[in-house]
């Protein structure tokens, strides 16, 4: 069975009485274990689509099925990583990661244990008592990752997770996210990532879904059938990038 089925999803926002169509009849399926990238220029509604996929906002038309069932509200089997990190400045790294577990009704010692486990998994051990303002962008995003992973989601949604980072830091974080995704001991095995960087999508994903803007429409769904580990300089990856770029231009 597919993990996620997206059926003719449309979304229209009402802006001061004016109807703004953002997404139009988007359909695709996601199998368990896939790494999907959603790419498109600004205005293609890719971040809105990501929020519909994990139930943060409802579609205007169409439906999203998770494991064969319609999503009634937020999908508790999924977690989100945000571009802006979305950390609480008054909480330490440990506090921020534990907070994500509070809604899951776990006993306190279990929360602590799990938070520490995932802090280690993302390489943040040593930073447990640091506050967000003491951290670099790369470390802040690792907190965002640890917080998302700690709820042990089946589906990890990432919205432009590397866009706020400097180029060298994003190189490191991309590799680390791939290491986590390939780590068999991690509960998460399906990732949907929104990005506007085509090379990033092609390097990381199994499939790249390309959206066109105003309103967002699914233009194409390309399988990146290149074995892993991948080489960023692989000419085959560049060909995929060129193809996607020409579709978006």
């Amino acid at each position: 069975m597919d993990l996620l089925e997206v059926e003719k999803v449309s979304k229209t926002f009402n802006q001061n009485g004016v109807l703004m169509p953002v997404l139009k009849e988007i359909s695709f399926r996601v199998r368990e274990g896939e790494f999907i990238a959603l790419v498109g220029p600004s205005g293609s509604g890719k971040s809105t689509l990501l929020r519909i996929l994990n139930g943060l906002i409802p579609p205007t038309q169409g439906r999203v099925l998770y494991q064969g069932k319609v999503l009634p509200s937020v999908n508790l089997d999924s977690a989100m990583v945000f571009q802006s990190f979305a950390l609480f400045p008054w909480l330490t790294v440990l506090g921020n990661v534990e907070l994500g577990l509070e809604a899951r009704a776990l006993p306190e010692h279990e929360r602590r244990k799990r938070a520490i486990h995932f802090i280690e998994k993302v390489g943040l051990d040593g930073f447990e008592e640091a506050y967000p303002r003491e951290l670099s962008g790369g470390m802040k995003q690792r907190v965002g990752l640890a917080r998302a992973l700690a709820v042990e989601p089946k589906l990890l949604c990432m919205d432009e997770p590397f866009s706020a980072l400097d180029p060298l830091t994003s190189l490191t974080l991309r590799e680390e996210v791939l290491m986590l995704w390939e780590d068999k001991s991690m509960p998460v095995n399906t990732i949907i990532m929104v990005t506007h960087i085509i090379e990033e999508a092609v390097f990381m994903a199994d499939r790249v879904l390309v959206l066109s803007p105003h309103p967002g429409t699914l233009v194409t769904d390309i399988a990146i059938d290149v074995p892993r580990p991948r080489d960023r300089k692989d000419p085959v990856l560049s060909e995929f990038s060129d193809r996607i770029f020409s579709l978006m231009a």
């Binding site: 040593g126 930073f127 008592e129 003491e134 060298l168 994003s170 680390e176 290491m179």
Partner: protein, 167 residues
């Protein structure tokens, strides 16, 4: 050996990102070309390279930056192993040796930020002690060499690196 400051604002993610880039380019790149390729100010890139060099992860013959065997080893290592390698490299730097000595001489292996800032100003009078302190804390935490508690404003020996003696 003289005490050398750490370049300000350089993080482990930037140094490892540099190694990733070099690995993609046959382990070597011209420094000017590299700055252009990754849209870095030259000064900022030189700081990252300098830190990589202090850690033994890159070398800079001529105008190039070249990855070392240890740099390649880091790329092949998992996140936890990377921290161990960096910890051993940091321990070789005089600035960390001096701070560790001072902490080991202190009661309970901890000192206030104020005392550390004074020590840094004494060791490196021309450096901005506050900025240097921040960089030291960042690397120390990453390598679990030293810890820092912001609320108590104290730097201490991390138990991962300095386990308490058995009672």
């Amino acid at each position: 050996m003289e005490v050398e400051p750490l370049p300000h604002g350089v993080t482990s993610s930037k140094v490892i990102g540099l190694l990733e880039y070099l690995d993609d380019h046959h382990g070597k790149e011209d420094i000017y070309k590299l700055a252009e390729a990754i849209h870095y100010e030259l000064g900022e890139l030189l700081s990252v390279i300098k830190m990589g060099e202090m850690l033994g992860l890159v070398e800079t013959p001529g105008g190039d930056v070249v990855i070392t065997d240890l740099g390649r080893k880091i790329l092949k290592s998992k996140v936890a192993q990377r921290k161990l390698i960096i910890r051993e490299q940091l321990k070789k730097l005089m600035i960390f040796q001096r701070l560790i000595e001072a902490l080991q001489k202190s009661e309970e292996g901890r000192l206030s930020k104020e005392v550390i800032l004074e020590e840094l100003s004494r060791l490196l009078p021309h450096e901005n002690a506050e900025a240097l302190f921040k960089t030291i804390v960042n690397w120390s935490r990453y390598a679990e060499l030293l810890g820092y508690n912001h609320d108590a404003q104290t730097l201490y020996l991390d138990e991962e690196s300095f386990p308490a003696p058995p009672q």
